[in-house]
């Protein structure tokens, strides 16, 4: 399985994602510049975090028009797993490939800390190796990670199993304190209807070795590698 790690001007988690796939999991990974027009030969895509195009206008709003995004859409339509992390999540939402929107953190502050996530279910290419009664530790680092969605949309998402992860506390309960950004329903990550596109604010690629403080993020990549 070959994983494309997209690189936009302002991406800053591309190296971490590449390291997780290539060096930790020993799988094939390659950087793909945003001006490229094709993803032929790739089986999965990671859209990494950072500040593509300086977050101008709205986070992810400009990056969605990058030439590579048409190829990402095509690969997603073919059923390949696409994972957008942090700014990558914002790009997928702006591109209309995931529902809802990401607005300023309720605190108005940039938040950078470890969080715990609980997968809502294990019926997706990104959560198949996870345990839905367990929680997974990894960091968040963002200014606009507050997932916003209308009550109707939220109900439809729940019905289709499109909630991937929620923020939980040490006991595995969703609480306002455990939620770093005020997101609707304590949502940390969401799926498209087909469940092959995931967007999440926390950074699994920054939690892939014990020295990083957690290796829990690796489980998401393992799931993804097993799925494609």
């Amino acid at each position: 399985m070959r994983v494309a790690v997209l690189v936009f001007p302002g991406s800053n988690c591309d190296q971490d994602a590449y390291h997780a796939i290539k060096n930790i999991l020993g799988a094939e990974a390659e950087f793909v510049w945003h001006r490229e027009k094709t993803l032929s030969g790739f089986d999965a895509v990671i859209i990494p975090g950072g500040f593509s195009y300086g977050d101008y206008l709205r986070s992810g709003a400009i990056a969605r028009f990058a030439p590579i995004m048409a190829a990402v859409k095509k690969l997603a339509d073919a059923g390949a797993p696409i994972m957008g992390i942090c700014n990558g999540f914002q790009i997928l939402v702006e591109a209309g490939m995931l529902p809802g929107a990401l607005i300023s953190n309720a605190s108005l502050r940039f938040v950078s800390r470890m969080v715990a996530l609980r997968p809502e279910h294990t019926d997706s290419p990104f959560t198949s190796a996870l345990d839905s009664s367990a929680s997974y530790a990894m960091p968040v680092a963002h200014q606009s990670g507050n997932f916003a969605v209308s009550p109707d949309q939220l109900a439809a998402m729940e019905e289709h199993g499109q909630i991937a992860f929620r923020y939980v506390d040490a006991r595995g309960k969703t609480t306002a304190k455990a939620n770093p950004n005020g997101s609707t329903g304590h949502i940390a990550g969401v799926l498209n209807k087909r469940r092959n596109v995931l967007g999440l604010m926390p950074h699994p690629e920054r939690a892939v070795e014990a020295l990083m403080g957690s290796a829990d993020g690796l489980e998401l990549f393992k799931s993804m590698m097993g799925a494609a």
Binding site: L57, E94, V149, S150
Partner: protein
Amino acid sequence: MKAHVTIMPKEGILDPQGLTVGKALLNLGIKGVREVRIGKFVEIDMPKLTREKAEAVATEACEKLLANPNIEGYTLTIVDGG
């Protein structure tokens, strides 16, 4: 022609900037303020276009990029000037 575009968070969408500024006004002792909401103002200069064409272009810009319909609404006025 110029387009003046005002983009505002939709009703019901949390506006943390507006809330914080509203609280700051209260702390300053400024009275009578019920709510503050903060959006964006965009000016688009289209010197060679007619009013009708400018309005069509600006509308397309709003729909495709300037406003995110999930969370934002916009109003658009075309004004003379070049």
